[in-house]
């Protein structure tokens, strides 16, 4: 089955990004496809390559980058939400791309399910 994922909160402050990541990991392990992860609202903050969490904590941004690269998951950051919050190509982590809201609607149409993770 094809899943689309929407993440509305940034890393660390809320559990949304953690829950979404572990959901995607489990879905991939079961042989499902993650068609796209769309980062909206403060969710765009998951894509900055400048984070440096404490050594004994998980690295939320790197985890997403790795999943994008290893499983070809399309990680799309909303351009309008990103500009509001200071995410641009210059601080974008590997594996993410910045694009328009149409990418969210598109995955809503194409995927079998769209799951929202927020506050």
């Amino acid at each position: 089955m094809k899943f689309g994922i929407l993440i509305n909160e940034g890393p660390y402050q809320h559990q949304a990004s953690d829950s979404a990541y572990l959901f995607c990991k489990a879905a991939l392990e079961k042989g499902h496809e993650i068609s796209r992860v769309f980062f909206y609202n403060d969710g765009v903050n998951n894509s900055t390559k400048l984070t440096e969490p404490p050594q004994d904590d998980r690295n939320i941004v790197q985890r997403w980058s790795k999943m994008g690269e290893e499983h070809g998951v399309d990680l799309v950051v909303c351009v309008a939400a990103a500009l509001r919050r200071g995410i641009r190509d210059e601080n974008l982590a590997p594996g993410f791309r910045i694009s328009g809201l149409g990418q969210l609607v598109e995955v809503g149409i194409q995927a079998d399910r769209l799951v929202v993770f927020g506050d």
Partner: protein
């Protein structure tokens, strides 16, 4: 659940008040984009979400853009299905006359049944 000719039913569920958080504004931005994809779009207003439609918003004092006129423009995008939960209005002392646009008022049971018919339910 219907998928006639590739058209899906998208519902935007609004449960949050405007201005205290950005969700109402950024959700509306998704609605406008979705209109361009020729899908079956509806908006549901529950809980504090009904406050988004309140007439007379004047945001100058908080130095923030008043985005409520956009609800009036939805018509021009062929988005006409705005559903409001009756109980949510009543608990907040609001009536249809308080709202910026024409809406379809539903009981909670009707709202729940409508949700079940959707393909994609978006909430912010």
């Amino acid at each position: 659940m219907s998928e006639e000719g590739g058209i899906k039913k998208f519902m935007f569920v609004n449960r949050k008040a405007p201005y205290g958080t950005v969700y109402a504004l950024e959700s509306l931005e998704v609605v406008l984009i979705t209109a361009a994809f020729d899908q079956d779009v509806s908006l549901a207003f529950l809980d504090d979400g009904v406050y988004q439609l309140k007439k007379g918003q004047q945001t100058k004092g908080i130095e923030t853009k008043n985005f409520s006129p956009t609800f009036r423009a939805l018509d021009g995008y062929d988005i006409e299905k705005l559903y409001v939960e009756r109980e949510a209005m009543e608990e907040r002392g609001l009536t249809e006359a308080d709202l910026l646009v024409d809406v379809i008022v539903l009981s909670r049971v009707e709202m729940g049944e409508l949700m079940e018919q959707q393909d994609v339910v978006l909430s912010c």
